[in-house]
Amino acid sequence: MKVTYSWLKDFVDIKLAPEKLADKLTMAGLEVVSLEQKQGDFVFEIEITSNRPDWLSVSGIAREVAAITNSKIRIQKSKSQTKIKNSKQEKFEIEIENKKDCSLYTAKIIRGVKVGPSPEWLKTRLELVGCRSVNNIVDITNHVLFETGEPLHAFDLDKLSGASIIVRRARSGEKITTIDGEIKQLSPDILVIADARRPVACAGIMGGKDTEVTEGTKNILLEAAVFNPILIRKARQVLGLQSESAYRFERSVDASIVESSSQLSADLIEKLSPGKTVLAKSAGSGKVIAKNIILDCDRVARVLGVKIPAQKIKTILQALGFTVKAKSKSKFSVLTPSHRQDAALDVDLIEEIARIYGYELIPRTIPSIKPQAFSWGVLDAAALIKNILTGLGLNEAITYSLTERNLAKSLGQTENLKAVEIRNPLSREQEILRTSLMPSLVKCAGLNLNQKQEYVNLFEIARRFYATDKGPKEELCLGVLLCGRKSLSLEQGMVKDEAGLLHLKGIIENMLLRLGIKEFSFSPDGQIVRIEVAGKKAGSMFRLSRSALDLFDIKNREVFVAELSLDNVIPALNLKKKFTAPPKYPGITRDISLLLREELGIDDVFQALRSAGEPLLKELKVTDFYKGKQVPAGWRGLTISCIYRSDERTLTEAEVAPVHAQLNALLTGRFGATIR
C-alpha cells in the first residue's frame, strides 16, 4: 500500500519529517518498506498485515498517524449534505440473490457526465500511489478507493440491458470479457454483477469490457457495495485476476463507509465533470454491529509486564476510534468502531495499547523458569549418533523429503513400501514423500563426483515415510554413502584406500558398539547385506548396480550405501556402563599365518576357533590380510592373532602350546587351510 505525505496531510496535521514518520509507522506495525521523494512529495510504501484492512486507505493510515503523533484526525464529510432527490422518471432496481454473498449494494445514476482527462492534481496523486490515470470518472472512483478503502465501480449506464442490476452467482457456461481484454470462463463459484441479459462485472474484482466507461459515455451507474471476502478471494484465484478492489474486498471492507464513499465519489464527479446524480438506490444493510469488550487495566500489565496508567490506555483507544467507558476503577467497557472488525478480545486491545504506547518502551525481563524433567530421548540419541559418525570422518548431508516416484525401487530397495503421495506437488520432483534416504544421498554423490571429488562420505539422519493400514508412517532413518578413494597419508607414504562394503560395515559396527549395542549381525542375502540389531531387522547395505548408477549419471565409480531404521536401533541402545578390571595377568599372543580358500567365511572360521580355544583363548583378531601374486587364485592370505590369557595366573608356554596346536589342526583339517 502506497500513500503520500501530502495526501495524509489532508487528514491530519503532521509535524514530523517524512523519515521520522516512516520510523514511527514502522514501529507501530505499519512497516514502511520504502520511502521515496517524488515530484515534490514523499511516497511511503507500507506493508499492511492481513488483519488490518482499515489500513488499506489514506484515511485509515491518517487515523494511525494521528494516534501516534497525538494529533486530531479530520474526517472528510461529503460536501453535499442534502439528500439526493430521486427523480421520478428514473426507474432502476437492485436485486441481491443471496445476502451472504453481498450484504450491501448501492447504486447511483449520474446523468450528463463528460468523460475526459483528469485534472493534473488527480493524475499526479494516483500516479504517486502506483495507479495509472484512465479518465476522470475512473480516476475519481480510484481516488475514493485509495482515500476511504471502499472500492467503487462505474458502468456506462447506456450499455446495460434493462433497468436493473442483479448480484448473483455466474451460471455455468457464462463468459465475460474483463476490462483488461481477457475472456474469462465463469462458474457458479464466482459472484457476478449482471444486467437483465448477462454478467457485466466479476463482483468486487473487475468490470466487464463492454460496459466500461469510455470517451463517449454520457450516463453512469456508480456501484459501491460489500462482498463476501472468501468468495472474492476464491473467485480471484480461479480467474487469475488481481486488482485493488479484490485486494480490499477479500480482506473485508467497512460496510459503514459504503454510502459515504459513494457520495464522496458522486460529489467529485459532479464537481470535475458536468453531471447530476438523479437516482440513489440500495439493497441490503450497511449496519455494523459493535462489539463490547471488557478491558481490565491490571490484565494489561499482566500481559505486557509494564504498568500503563488507565488514563493513557483510554487516550490510546479513543485515538484509534474505540469508545471507552469506565466500568470500575481499573476496568473499561470498550466499544469497537465499525472499521475494527478484527478486534474481538481484550488481548486485541492490549496489542493496540502496546503498539501506540511503544513496544520499545516495554522493559526486558528474564522469566523465572521452573526446572522440568524431560527424559533423554530420540533427539538426544540422534545427536549422539551424528557425533559418532562425524568422528568417523563422515559429513552430514540434509536432503529433501519430497522426491519423484519409484526412485528407491530402481536403486535397489527391496521392501515393498507404498509411498505417501502429495496431492498438490509443484513438480515431478515433489510427488511423493521418500520411502528411503538412499536416492537423495546418491544424488549428492553424483553432484560431488561431478565436482571432481575423489572421496565422498556422507550420512543423513531424517525420516522416511510410507503408507500402512493405519495411515502414513514416519520412520527415523540413518543413511550412509561411501564412494571413491580416500588418500591416507601414512609413514611409508600416501596410500589410496578404496571405499567398499567393509568400510560401511566398520562404520556401522563402530557406531553400534559406541551406542552400547552388542547384539547385531551382518548377513549376505544375494547382492544385499542385511543388518539386524538386537534380533530385529534394522536395515541393509549394498553396492549400487550399474543400472542404478546410470540413473544418476555416475560413471566409472562404485557407490556403497547403507540404510538403518533408527526407530529399530535406538530402543536397543544401552549407554549404561559397567567397569571391568583390566586383566591382572599378562596374556600370550600367538600368530597364525595361513592361506584360506576365498569362499570360506571368516565368521565361521572364528566361531570354530573360539569354541576350540576355550577357556584360555580370549581374543581373535585378523591382523593382516593379503591377496596378490604370492597367493594362489581362489585363496587369501591371513594372519590371525590368538590371545591366550587366564584370570587366575600367568600362563606358561607349556599350557598354551597344546591349545594353539589344536587351533592349527582345526584350520588345516576342517577348513583345509595351509599354514605358512
Binding site: 486485541d348 526486558r364 522469566p367 540434509i398 529433501y400 523429503s401 519430497l402 560431488n448 502414513p472
Partner: protein, 337 residues
Amino acid sequence: MDIRSIQAQIESDLAAVHSQGQLEEFRLKYLSRKGALAQLTAAIPTLPQNERAQFGQEVNALKNNLASLIAEKEKSLGAGIKSGPEMTDDIGMPGIAQELGRLHPITQTINEISSIFTRMGFCIADGPEIETEFNNFTGLNIPLEHPSRDAFDTFYLKDYEKLLLRSHTSPVQVRAMKGRLPPLAIVVPGRVYRPDAVDASHLFMFHQIEGFMVDTNITFADLKGSLEIFAKAVFGNDIKMRFRPHFFPFTEPSAEVDISCIICKGAGCSVCGRKGWLEILGCGMIHPNVFKQVGINAQKYSGFAFGMGIERIAMLKYGINDIRLFFENDLRFLKQF
C-alpha cells in the same frame, strides 16, 4: 698413570668445562677409544694376576662415574633439549590424522540455538512432519477460510483427508500443550514444507525452530528479555534489537524482531535492503484461542511463543547468499562449517 691422579685430573678438567664443545673434548679425552680410560683398561694385562680384578673394577667404577658426571654437566649446560634426536621429518608435509567429518550447517545452527535456550531452562521436543489440519491450523487459531490453508500455501496428502505436511513447527505447540500441564518451556526444531517456487531465498522444504513458554505470569517483557539473550548469543553483544508490531493468528500481541544489520551495522547495505535492519523472527503472546483449543485456562496462564527460519539465521550468520546450497550437499560447501 694411577687411578687416583686421573680422578683428580678429571675433577679439575670438568670444572673448566663451560660449553658443549668443551664437554665433548672432555668426553673424548677420557672416554674415546684412545682416551685415558681406554689406556687404563689396556694396561690391565700388564698387571700381576692378583691385582687385575681389583684394578678392572676400579676402572669400571671410574667409567660409570665419568658417564654420570658428563650427563650431569650436560644438564647443567642446558643442552638436554638441543641434544635430542635429530629432526628427520619435513614438517611441511601434510599431517597424519583421521579427518573429522562435519555436521551440516543447519544442524550446527539448530544446535547453537537450542543450546542457548536449554541453558535458559528450555527443553527440546519434536513432532511428526505429517500433521492434522487441526494441529497445523485450527488449534493455532487459523480460521477455516484462512489463505494459508490453501493448496497454494500448504502441501496436502493425496489419500488422506485432513492430513498435510506441516507448514510450520507450531503444531508441536498444540501437541505439547495438550499433553502436559504448565509450566512449559520448550524449543522445537524441525523440517517444514510449503509449496513455494524455488529461488535463491525460497524452497519447498526448510527448517524452523519454535519456542514457547507457558506459566502463571509470563509477560511480553519476558519475551523481550529471553529473545534478547538469544539474539546477542547468536549475533554478538553489540547488535541492536527492535520489536515491531506484527500479525500472527496464534499470538496477540504479536511482533517481528529485527536486529541491526550485521553486515553494515545499521548504515544500510544490499543485505538489509538499505534498511539497516534484518528481520530474524516472529513472536508474541500465545493467543487465548490457542489456549482454549488445547484446554489451558487462559485466565490463569499466559505464555509467549516465537518461531524462526533456521536457513535464514544460518545465511545471515555465515553470509550464505543462496538457500539451495544447504541441500546440494557439495562437500566443498559442507567442509566449510
